[in-house]
Symmetry: D3
Subunit: 110 residues, 6 copies
Amino acid sequence: MQCCAPNHYDTLFGGAALQLMDEVSFICATRFSRQKVVTVSSDRVDFKKPIPGGTLVELIANVETVGKSSIVVGVDIFVEEMYTEKREQAVHGTFTMVAVDENKKPVAVV
Amino acid sequence: MQCCAPNHYDTLFGGAALQLMDEVSFICATRFSRQKVVTVSSDRVDFKKPIPGGTLVELIANVETVGKSSIVVGVDIFVEEMYTEKREQAVHGTFTMVAVDENKKPVAVV
Amino acid sequence: MQCCAPNHYDTLFGGAALQLMDEVSFICATRFSRQKVVTVSSDRVDFKKPIPGGTLVELIANVETVGKSSIVVGVDIFVEEMYTEKREQAVHGTFTMVAVDENKKPVAVV
Amino acid sequence: MQCCAPNHYDTLFGGAALQLMDEVSFICATRFSRQKVVTVSSDRVDFKKPIPGGTLVELIANVETVGKSSIVVGVDIFVEEMYTEKREQAVHGTFTMVAVDENKKPVAVV
Amino acid sequence: MQCCAPNHYDTLFGGAALQLMDEVSFICATRFSRQKVVTVSSDRVDFKKPIPGGTLVELIANVETVGKSSIVVGVDIFVEEMYTEKREQAVHGTFTMVAVDENKKPVAVV
Amino acid sequence: MQCCAPNHYDTLFGGAALQLMDEVSFICATRFSRQKVVTVSSDRVDFKKPIPGGTLVELIANVETVGKSSIVVGVDIFVEEMYTEKREQAVHGTFTMVAVDENKKPVAVV
């Protein structure tokens, strides 16, 4: 995707990054489990580098560990300049998703 | 991406909650310091209770600690039913904001 | 909240202000009555001062009068500069909400 | 704020109608004057009929009166059922727009 | 306009699909050329299958042919069920992008 | 409507134009048939002229041909400068809509 609905510094807000990271975690955990999942926690997220406007932003999610009903997903945000080949990791975070049944009770993921 | 409604469980996604929490942290730290601030990290956030549709959602942010150029803001989300007096805390998180100058370098907050 | 999705003068459009005012009136009347409410009219609203971009905007709603099934809510918009303590009232309006049943017929609010 | 769907009665909120009315007033006054205009007030608006989901909504704006620097625009909202020919006026309002110069000072419209 | 939910058949509108396809074409042509590009045409797009709500949607864009200043991008939309492994192509389209300079004049892409 | 949520060239993206064109095609075909319709294809669309920010954009849709269950809608986008009388056609496209029953099977439109 392209960055960004700008804040007043013309960078992606931390909160917008967190929302995107949660969304890809959801998709990743859904594809892994093919079950309904909800976010139960996000671990500490460091915004090491600002994500400037006028860049391409790529999010990559991977399953890191799998528990009885939980799936821990690691998410990296890469920032890529539009008119050069420069690309670097800007943010890493982990989100814990839990598979739930129709009553929102945890169910086994495997 | 998901098609098409944001959440098939009719609850607020974790990512949307994180975005709102970051936004109120930004406002809280801006009011406290009257300086430009950016989010540098969010601490672990637990989504203890789902935030169901058809509720009122209130976010309350407080400055917890102040460092040389950083402001740690605690944010609570309260969920309030629309047609009863029931209200309870659903989420707590802390966001670390840093005051920056025009070149995005940290500056003293006090 | 922060202002604004800018128009071409980099100020908050009157229409966006009206929408926010209606929303806080709805929440205010819902909390007061704990019944379903709908907007039946907005009184004259004067936009005395523009609401510039890069400011904080605060909306405060109060129940002004209560009729058999209606609740009149007064709403003020305060504009606060981000990097000074300057804050002033920019807009005042009143919205009349009516409590309704499932068939959208008025019901008593008290 | 409310979580999460905009309206639990499946109708257009009053505030959304006001925002649309302001937008068409802006376009109408711009076309009339070919000058920059801002909203200075909205007169009393009655929401006589709800605007249900699954309908077509048409807004029609007309210049009603013209002052030295002001243009009063009347706006009607018509609601049209999608699968019948039924169509009726749902809302009428008037918005006062003022032509302004670059410093937001009123200027003559004619 | 329509009031109020985007689609009363709970599927992705053709127009929303076209917008997403144009966006990935833009990113694809930007990455290929590392130059500013604009869309000059979209070829015939067939919506063979509806894209239902509650699915995952994946867009894949590839450069198909390259002219002096134009890049033709083919875009496929795949629809994947969330809770089964079923996945199929729903839409294919091609978008012609042209590299432009600051005055919006075509420039060579290679 | 006013143009635009800007891209990085401060013009309306092709994809946003396509979405608007599909929406007016839908309304046009709905009004013509008073039946549920879906988009089955868009024909080649040429973006002859950019649609710059700070303009008024008008979309006009007309039924061009009617088949057994299909309605071909032609859509023109006119761009009008806000502060002059200059107005010109920027885009033309045709969208084929098909009337469908509750099971999304084609039905006769007349």
